[in-house]
Symmetry: C2
């Protein structure tokens, strides 16, 4: 009659989105357990027309769940995900904790759904900026090969969480009213600004976000040597990550062939007609589950180089949609 | 005792900035003539503590000027710049009209000031996004050579003009108040959004802004075959263009050597220390005349590839400062 589903981080942006998607997509839920850290326990969330009280996530409250979507902090995942998995719950984890663990499949269903085979009850969902990239790279890799991928991102503040969304709102109001504003979430003001800094700096060179794009893309595409590199930039957008991607293919290609391959690819929508100013933007694709591509064109300075502009809802396909799609793939299997 | 200086487009963002800079930099002005199209004639502008009435730009009102800064539309430049130049006025033109004319020097003084030699009274100042790029590329080209340059821009709305600044302001207020807003300047809403579309589409592939970056960089750097390619994106920032630049050098280099070469380059300021979250952002560099660089790091997937993050005030170094610096170079010569 359905599955017992726990959502860990049920009061966060992604957890809330997971619950909406379970409803929207009619995932067969017999029981929904909204869980969170002690701080949020006792709050009430909505699911399928019911008011549900949020409980503290623990081995106890997770017990007996068929699926658990983890959309809380890395610490919560580290502590509870293996416990739940050992107890027989299939954990779909959105945190960074297990993504590079060779024992844990890192899955975007339309790209490497086959990696789910033989899973040990713990499956990682990739970083938001990685998901939309690999959904587009995969069909190109299969059709034309990939020599090199250079990515510049334009990432929405919702990727940082609810507090960042509030900071963008408050900072923008303060700016328009000429009031000073002291940023709390970001190291510099985000209103009317851009910051070449997403997540913490992992080393002197690059941020963790930039490394995630590299390492996760390689694992998902099964190409540990793929030459992919990124600069990750935060922009004053609420929802929707964009990526300007320059890539070289191994084999002969042209924009028309790329458009054709992408239009036929699962989860991809091509919006690409400069004569009608048609290209995806974050405001347009917020609320959609697909990955949108436009500005597909040749770089005339190289033999087989192309530009693409990729946009997706970072809370949906970049997070909650992908996690729910993993669960859907598992119950279909 | 000084020069008779005309400013064409004296009521626009760039023209206003030119007048402020002439004062700030103590350019020797004996007479300032604010000129504009008929629409703005009669308005009053400030210069050096005086109120000056704006007159309509014409052969007549330009006559006798030693210098004329053109910061109006391409049409105004096309009609009046050659007339003024023939009459003996040194014209410094900010429009796109003459930039690629082989008879017209396209100048960024710290990059190719020598191109001013033998000018015929008409000198073009490059596009905003080009200027900040070549100021940084030139010292790298000289020290290490350049094999390839891939640029993604994050461009402020002031690059489009005063009406775009007002649209960003109005659209943002409408959004925060939940009111609908119909964009007039941009094809889609610019508040809390990014648009992969600067200037008009020149062809099916690329925008004029993207082509300017390619063609102008090649001319200024004297490398007609330089492999440089760009995606130009508008972001909801008032002032300050940013660029994420991936480049390959011809000869061996490393981040420390790049930092050293850039720190010694004229017009460049290096802000690059991830341990202190130090990198330039548009809000920080607005009002400054230099070009700022940070996030200088190796792309470990290629032999001699590097990332840079370049930010400059598009109204100053990207427009007015560069134009005034051209005039300064001429009076020094």
């Amino acid at each position: 009659m359905g599955y017992r589903v726990a959502v860990v981080g049920a009061t966060g942006l992604v957890g809330q989105q997971v619950m909406r998607l379970l409803e929207e997509r009619r995932f067969p839920v017999s029981e929904l357990r909204p869980l969170a850290t002690a701080r949020s326990a006792g709050r009430v969330v909505q699911f399928a027309g019911e008011q549900l009280e949020v409980r503290e996530a623990s081995a106890e409250t997770l017990r007996g769940a068929d699926f658990a979507f983890f959309a809380a902090s890395g610490d919560v995942s580290r502590e509870l995900a293996p416990v739940a998995a050992r107890a027989g719950t299939v954990v779909i984890d959105k945190s960074n904790t297990f993504r590079l663990d060779p024992e844990v499949p890192l899955v975007v269903p339309e790209v490497n759904g086959d990696a789910l085979a033989g899973h040990r009850n713990l499956i990682a969902s990739p970083n938001c900026s990685t998901i939309q990239l690999v959904v587009v790279l995969k069909p190109i890799l299969d059709a034309f090969g990939l020599r090199r991928v250079v990515v510049s991102t334009y990432q929405a503040v919702s990727g940082t969480g609810a507090a960042a969304l509030e900071e963008l709102e408050a900072a923008t109001r303060a700016d328009l009213e000429g009031r000073p504003f002291e940023p709390q979430v970001y190291p510099q003001p985000i209103a009317f600004n851009v910051l070449p800094h997403c997540d913490r700096f992992e080393d002197e060179a690059a941020t963790l976000e930039e490394w995630k794009l590299v390492r996760e893309s390689r694992k998902i595409l099964g190409r540990p040597d793929l030459a992919v590199t990124a600069t990750a930039v935060r922009v004053p957008v609420r929802v929707g990550h964009s990526e300007a991607v320059w890539l070289e293919t191994e084999r002969q290609a042209d924009p028309a062939a790329l458009r054709e391959v992408l239009a036929a690819a699962p989860g991809v929508v091509v919006w690409d007609d400069p004569t009608r100013n048609l290209y995806p933007t974050p405001l347009q694709v917020a609320g959609r589950d697909e990955v949108f591509v436009g500005r597909i064109r040749r770089d005339p300075t190289a033999e087989r180089a192309f530009w693409l502009w990729i946009v997706a809802d970072n809370l949906r396909k970049g997070a909650a949609t992908n996690a729910v799609q993993i669960a859907e793939a598992l119950i279909r299997a």
